[in-house]
């Protein structure tokens, strides 16, 4: 019998599984739409072959829909590729705007199922922190998984002394004290790995993660 996995390994693997399952599900949907639109083109071509007039605008619209789906699928695959490369370096100088943008894309389906609109940070100058990209995303994912339901969640970042801060602003729901406490307990190991501390401001419905820089790759 194999020895049990350490909890952090299991948590990391579950995160990997959840992200890849979600992305593959999305890809299946893109392929299904491409399949139906291609089928529709085939139907129309056969009707045209039998002498029925087909509006060229109809064909143009179908072609545009096909291209749009290919682009959506390509964006999903691009996000998967960036996610896969998040384990290339143990500690990296992370652009948090880019990381949260990736998170918003990876969590899109999970959030849609919960009727949550997850808004990535607006374009702004890079805010960097030295941390493990994979485990930081794992931590954010777990926070979202535990708290996101029927709300708009706006993600922003700012510099902090010796690191950076991520804010999650919930427009329609307030987190209760029990949920906040459980978040801290259940994510303590991940928080330690990325030097993160969480704090919740009930007045502004704002959950903040402060991440202190790990020793940079150059100084380790």
């Amino acid at each position: 019998m194999n020895p049990p996995l350490p909890p952090i390994a299991e948590t990391g693997l579950r995160f990997f599984g959840a992200v890849t399952a979600s992305a593959s599900h999305e890809l299946k949907n893109h392929l299904a739409i491409i399949n139906e639109n291609a089928g529709l083109l085939d139907d129309l071509a056969q009707m045209a072959g039998r002498g029925r007039a087909i509006d060229p605008n109809r064909l143009l619209k179908l072609a545009a829909d096909l291209i749009a789906q290919v682009r959506r699928a390509d964006a999903t695959i691009g996000a998967m590729n960036r996610f896969a490369h998040s384990v290339d370096r143990t500690i990296d100088a992370l652009d948090l705007n880019a990381l949260l943008d990736l998170m918003a894309r990876l969590a899109q389906r999970l959030m849609a199922m919960r009727k949550v609109r997850l808004i990535p940070p607006p374009p702004q100058p890079s805010v960097q922190v030295h941390a493990s990209a994979y485990f930081l995303m794992n931590l954010i994912w777990r926070v979202l998984d535990a708290t996101a339901r029927e709300s708009e969640i706006r993600m922003t970042v700012e510099s902090a002394p010796d690191g950076a801060r991520i804010h999650l602003d919930y427009s329609d729901i307030a987190l209760d004290a029990e949920t906040v406490e459980r978040l801290g307990e259940e994510n303590s190991v991940l928080s330690d790995i990325v030097n993160a501390e969480s704090a919740y401001d009930p007045t502004n419905r704002r959950l903040s993660l402060t991440i202190r820089n790990a020793p940079s790759p150059d100084t380790r």
């Binding site: 599900h25 299946k28 299904a32 739409i33 139907d43 199922m113 919960r114």
Partner: protein, 124 residues
């Protein structure tokens, strides 16, 4: 035969409905659970084809809600789940209804629709 297609991907259900119409099968479509419930309450449908996962509700839960509105309604599920294990779990949860993997083969869907309608007539 009158069909209701329910999936949060509008392009999927609208194209599918048009292709079914070309083959003489009348199919309406909606993209959320509440619209599906309203449709089934207002009109008669023989079969509902449901996505297994939709925002805010699972296809299995939606099936129960729609069956309350029309006990004679029959169901076929579409899923984006890729693995055999997911497929088997979903089939078990869905009961004896048909369970098709996306992308759905139109001919297979039509075959299943005819089987479901045939079974329904036999039960009467």
């Amino acid at each position: 035969m009158r069909i209701l297609l329910v999936d949060d991907e509008q392009e999927l259900v609208s194209a599918l409905a048009e292709r079914l119409a070309f083959r003489g099968i009348q199919a309406d479509w909606v993209c959320d659970a509440e619209s599906a419930i309203r449709k089934v309450r207002a009109d008669h449908y023989d079969v509902a084809v449901l996505d297994v996962r939709m925002p805010g509700i699972s296809g299995i839960d939606l099936k129960k809600r729609l069956a309350e509105e029309n006990p004679e309604l029959r169901f076929i599920f579409m899923t984006g789940h890729g693995s055999l294990a997911d497929f088997q779990t979903g089939s078990a949860e869905a009961g004896s209804d048909f369970y098709l993997a996306k992308p759905v083969k139109l001919e297979l869907l039509i075959e299943k629709l005819q089987t479901v309608i045939g079974n329904k007539k036999e039960q009467k």
